[in-house]
């Protein structure tokens, strides 16, 4: 009997480019280092990144799913492994496993308005969706991108946001929780942008990503504006050690975030969302 591939063994990928985004967030662009490669991914999925001798972390893919072999990950340094990752440079090799998880509902969204609400690092897992929407613009109705960051210094992908804003066929609203320096833009939580956003709640799909508490209030506001709960999608996060449904860490009620998520229609996890310590 042929040996079963072990889903826990990573494939070597080489850093093509390391880019600093903000004081604690950075982007890695990766290409295969050997003949092995991961299969094509969909927006919303994630990989497990292995750093030699340090550990492994789940990171959402933040690049263009139609961009061939290049794999892009935007990460915030919040723990041991991600902090060590800040020392990576072009030419360094890391291990990759994936892609894992359920994708954002791009197919379902075709023909409808799309409301994207991102909080903090949550913009990274949504960027692949934005790329797809903009490259296939005609397939979608109105597109609204709402982005909330902690302070102006924490705003990700500034150049890209500027280029999105220049377009006439989408609405981009950015806000910060706290203003610093010369900020002249919006101040206030991202939920406050929703009421002003131009979309038809009866024909819209919302995709929300950010800290759980931010997603919760965003979902409430979206529903207040008339979007039904089965048209709202969120991306959940839990501790992960394997990403293949064996280690048990990522369980959220009966769902394994690694294979039943991370993207869920809100309706499916509505009952769990308000439960504490679940």
């Amino acid at each position: 009997m042929a040996a079963l591939p072990d889903p826990m063994v990573p494939i070597p990928y080489r850093v093509e480019r390391y880019r600093k985004e903000t004081h604690d967030t950075f982007t890695l662009e990766l290409k295969p280092a050997t003949a092995q490669r991961l299969s094509a991914f969909s927006a919303g999925q994630f990989n497990m990144l292995y750093i030699y001798g340090v550990g492994e972390v789940p990171i959402s893919i933040s690049g263009n799913p139609e961009n061939g072999e290049l794999i892009v990950h935007t990460t915030r340094a919040v723990g041991t492994v991600t902090t060590v990752m800040q020392s990576l440079r072009a030419g360094h090799v890391i291990g990759l496993r994936g892609p894992f998880g359920t994708p954002w509902p791009i197919e379902v969204a075709k023909g409808q308005d799309v409301v994207i609400v991102a909080g903090g690092i949550g913009l990274a897992p949504l960027r692949p969706v934005i790329y797809y929407l903009l490259n296939h613009r005609k397939k979608f109705g109105k597109i609204v991108i709402l982005y909330g960051a902690r302070t102006p210094e924490d705003i990700l992908f500034r150049k890209e946001i500027k280029s999105w804003r220049k377009r006439l066929d989408l609405e981009v609203l950015v806000t910060v929780d706290r203003a610093t320096g010369n900020w002249r833009g919006n101040v206030g939580v991202v939920t406050r942008l929703i009421a002003r956003a131009p979309f038809d709640p009866y024909a819209a799909i919302a995709m929300v990503c950010g800290p759980e508490i931010m997603m919760y209030y965003t979902v409430l506001e979206l529903m207040d504006q008339g979007i039904p709960k089965n048209q709202i999608y969120i991306s959940m996060e839990r501790n992960m050690k394997c990403a293949v449904g064996f280690c048990g860490h990522c369980q959220y009620g009966p769902h394994f975030i690694c294979k039943d998520g991370p993207v869920f229609p809100y309706e499916r996890i509505e009952n769990l969302f308000t439960k504490r310590e679940i």
């Binding site: 915030r76 690092i121 206030g188 939580v189």
Partner: protein
């Protein structure tokens, strides 16, 4: 007056309010306009007005010694600004500065208070709406307070 009644009725704050109530209140209002950078009100000044923003953007700020003006929220079209006219000692608690060309309806607080006293049903209606706005602001402020994007 006709013009103002129409403007009031079209502002979200007065949505679904009875026509005669709006007409009654229109007597307290007037159209105003602020240039970019102009102060609409300042912390500590007597607060006798509230504003229904129709166009533009206003920054609510607190000036912190050593830090300068700290922007706490942006008020845009469709929003209402100011409720210090309701509660003694009727003084503003922040600065409000226009970020861009801003047009608003300025409602005279004393006038509105008088009208509310003579018509309690109008008073109740107004209170209801203002309470809703305060609640929304409070929720948003609380969310800002818990600093959702912090690392730990």
């Amino acid at each position: 007056m006709e013009d103002l009644k129409r403007l009031l009725a079209s502002h979200p704050f007065f949505k679904d309010m009875k026509e005669d109530h709006i007409a009654f209140l229109a007597g307290c209002g007037k159209n105003v306009r602020f240039e970019p950078g102009e102060f609409i009100f300042r912390n500590g000044e007597p607060a006798e007005k509230f504003y229904l923003v129709r166009h533009g953007a206003v920054s609510l700020e607190i000036f912190v010694p050593g830090r300068g003006a700290v922007m706490i929220e942006t008020i845009r079209e469709g929003n209402v600004m100011g409720w210090s006219w309701l509660v003694p000692p009727y003084r503003w608690h922040f600065d409000a500065r226009a970020l861009e060309l801003t047009r608003a309806i300025e409602m005279d607080g004393k006038c509105v208070r008088k009208k509310c006293e003579s018509d309690p049903s109008l008073g109740y209606e107004l209170m209801r709406r203002i309470a809703a706005i305060m609640q929304e602001r409070l929720k948003a402020t609380q969310l800002q307070l818990i600093d959702v994007y912090r690392k730990d």
